[in-house]
């Protein structure tokens, strides 16, 4: 079973990286979804599959039966699932905000923070590139009432 999980992890990781390297922000988000699944599989795999029964102590018993699966990685993965849901949700809203303010989802076209002209040794050029980056209406939070 361990080898199968490692194989699955490799495939999910490769697919996630392929999507993360895409230009479209939406593809990057889907890559993130796959990446979190890959990470969870890796945690379960590294924690070993000790058994296949749920880690529940039988009523009246004092400790887990020997056939129970390892509870510790499961607890770690459970929070990881919820946290990666949080990450996905936030990233989605961010993508939506980008679309509203920039009308594009091409990661290469998003150069607000790092304008193509910057950095420059020429102060005049740099000054020209700076306000161009600041002047645009952005959906990202800056200051209230902007």
């Amino acid at each position: 079973m361990e080898i199968l999980l490692a194989l699955l992890f490799g495939v999910l990781l490769a697919a996630a990286v392929y999507l993360l390297l895409a230009r479209s922000v939406l593809r990057i988000i889907i890559g993130l979804l796959l990446l979190s699944n890959a990470a969870n599989i890796a945690i379960i795999g590294a924690g070993r599959v000790l058994g296949t029964a749920p880690p529940l102590v039988a009523p009246g018993a004092e400790a887990l039966a020997a056939s129970a699966s390892n509870p510790l990685p499961q607890a770690l993965v459970l929070t990881a699932i919820v946290i990666s849901f949080g990450l996905t949700a936030f990233f989605l809203v961010l993508a939506y905000a980008i679309w509203r303010s920039e009308a594009t989802l091409d990661g290469e076209a998003l150069r607000l923070a790092e304008p193509p002209l910057l950095p420059s040794t020429d102060p005049a050029l740099a000054a020209q590139a700076e306000p161009a980056a600041q002047g645009r209406g952005s959906a990202l939070p800056e200051r209230e009432g902007a």
């Binding site: 529940l56 459970l78 919820v82 849901f85 949700a89 936030f90 989605l92």
Partner: protein, 132 residues
């Protein structure tokens, strides 16, 4: 979807059922599969389905408080559940205490906090997209 009569009519019952079920999952979590994380997600799903049927405004009314406020209450509850150990028992923060002889303890308060944070968090992100 808001025009579907069946959905609109049943939404209230679905919501009540979902919340009751989610609380049930939360409470039994200590002994059977379940707990605050799953409970909170199920509760959020209940409100989402209510929102799909009746709209975001009605959902916000049903919630009474803003989702983020529920999340804040949850975080405060979880933190508070760790205080008795610190204040009265001279033990480390978040060492849970039980009413003697009962299964009722501060773990339940902590799990309720987790439940509320997850619920509030999920709804903070989903509800705005059900508006318009």
């Amino acid at each position: 979807m808001k025009d579907s009569l069946i959905l609109r009519a049943s939404a209230g019952y679905v919501l009540v059922a979902a919340v009751v079920f989610s609380l049930f999952v939360l409470l039994r979590g200590h002994n059977e599969p379940g707990g605050g994380f799953i409970g909170g997600l199920i509760g959020a799903l209940g409100f989402v389905s209510y929102g799909l049927a009746r709209g975001a405004a009605a959902t916000r009314r049903a919630l009474r408080l803003a989702p983020i406020a529920w999340a804040g209450i949850g975080l405060a509850l979880a933190a508070a559940s760790g205080l008795p150990a610190l204040l009265w028992h001279g033990e480390a923060f978040l060492t849970h205490q039980w009413l003697s002889g009962t299964p009722l303890g501060t773990t339940l308060v902590f799990d309720l906090g987790v439940y509320l944070v997850v619920l509030g968090f999920g709804l903070t992100f989903v509800l705005p997209f059900l508006e318009e």
